[in-house]
Symmetry: C2
Subunit: 238 residues, 2 copies
């Protein structure tokens, strides 16, 4: 409880409070996506804001800057970068975190698993450096409880189930969101739990809150028309 | 059956055949939508094509031209224009049909209800003029069977359930698609039936085919991120 009284905790609280119980729309499109780029992501951010989202999740400085200019919503910023020597892709080093902060993100999301990061920095050190140098709260993207407990001890201000199903490249992710992990995190952690990953329907989003989520991130089902099209095409069959 | 042997019928057949059993993605965004305009609609068209759609439904010459340049898919073109003296909005007169054809549409969708059109032209005359002057097949947007039988007699090459739920402004449209009307059209008409209107999920799209639809149009659930956001926000509650 002592932690909560520190200035860092209270600024994290201010950053996270507007997200409580709400929908965070992830606006991301890879280079091969017809909607790739800041023009499209800014429009998606505006659509999300107009539609009632309480926050955005955005990848990369260019798209974060565009979303920042387009809406007043809090932005969970991340920066996906694939290094040769590490499986960690979501904001793997301080350099990416700093770029995300400079672009206008209000919260920094990063892979907080214990997997080795490209520069070997332990996640504890990275979180501490982000708090000290950038003054922003950290959302720890995770896949299981042990890492989550460690991330919380390391000072993560919130946790997300983002990486559940994406750790072992040999195992394809399931279709359904991992609401059991949402429940587990909510029961065992003191920090807010953000439900993220494969939430495709309003009913699943509602269920995530009922499983104890503090907020819900939806991406593909809202901002990826190519993938939504594929879902319909699969249902219609050959 | 004699009709089917005429050149008009066979060219209509050629235009419609690629749509059989498939998904038609409606790419429309009104001026107040953050994704309004040809740049965004071209990207949506590309996303739909990449995702496996067999055709597009696009409103207005600018967006049709953009979609035409962006993809090789058949385009069901329409042109929504509100005249003061008529409730008919979807391609209400020949002028709009001609603009749609010039922009590159391969099929022309129009309101084929018996409601009075702005220039008083009966729908029979309009369909005949489109066939004779523009050489394109006509998709008749409808809400009930009597109009559909008349549209078929008037030479409509296909019918769609587009207007079901939108005729009486005093009655809000239901949430669900009108699959009963799809069944009725499929049982009573010889021309292909396109299911359109409020199809939100892949399961509903599949069900439309099972109810006898020749093809399925999905718009909002794929190409309107603001409206999809609203659906999630409603589910999360206040």
């Amino acid at each position: 409880m002592a932690q909560i009284a520190t200035p860092g905790r209270s600024s994290a609280h201010r950053a996270l409070a507007p997200l409580a119980g709400g929908l965070i729309v992830s606006c991301q499109a890879r280079p091969d996506n017809p909607l790739h780029g800041p023009t499209f992501m800014a429009a998606m951010a505006r659509a999300a804001a107009d539609g009632g989202a309480v926050g955005l999740r955005v990848n990369g400085p260019d798209d974060i800057r565009a979303a920042r200019a387009a809406t007043p919503l809090p932005i969970i910023g991340l920066f996906k970068r694939q290094y040769d020597n590490s499986p960690v892709v979501i904001t793997p080093t301080f350099a990416e975190a700093e770029a995300v902060a400079r672009a206008g993100a209000t919260i920094i999301a990063l892979d907080a698993t214990r997997r080795r990061r490209p520069d070997g920095t332990p996640v504890t050190t990275l979180i501490a450096r982000i708090h000290a140098s950038l003054g922003l709260p950290v959302l720890a993207d995770l896949a299981e409880l042990t890492d989550a407990l460690m991330a919380e001890d390391a000072g993560a201000d919130a946790v997300a189930t983002t990486l559940s199903g994406y750790i072992d490249p040999a195992v394809p992710p399931p279709d359904e969101p991992d609401l059991a992990l949402v429940t587990l995190f909510a029961q065992r952690l003191r920090v807010p739990v953000v439900a993220e990953g494969r939430i495709k329907t309003p009913a699943q989003a509602r269920s995530a809150l009922d499983h104890g989520a503090f907020a819900v991130v939806v991406g593909t089902a809202i901002t990826n028309p190519r993938e939504i099209t594929r879902g319909f095409v699969r249902a219609l069959g050959p």
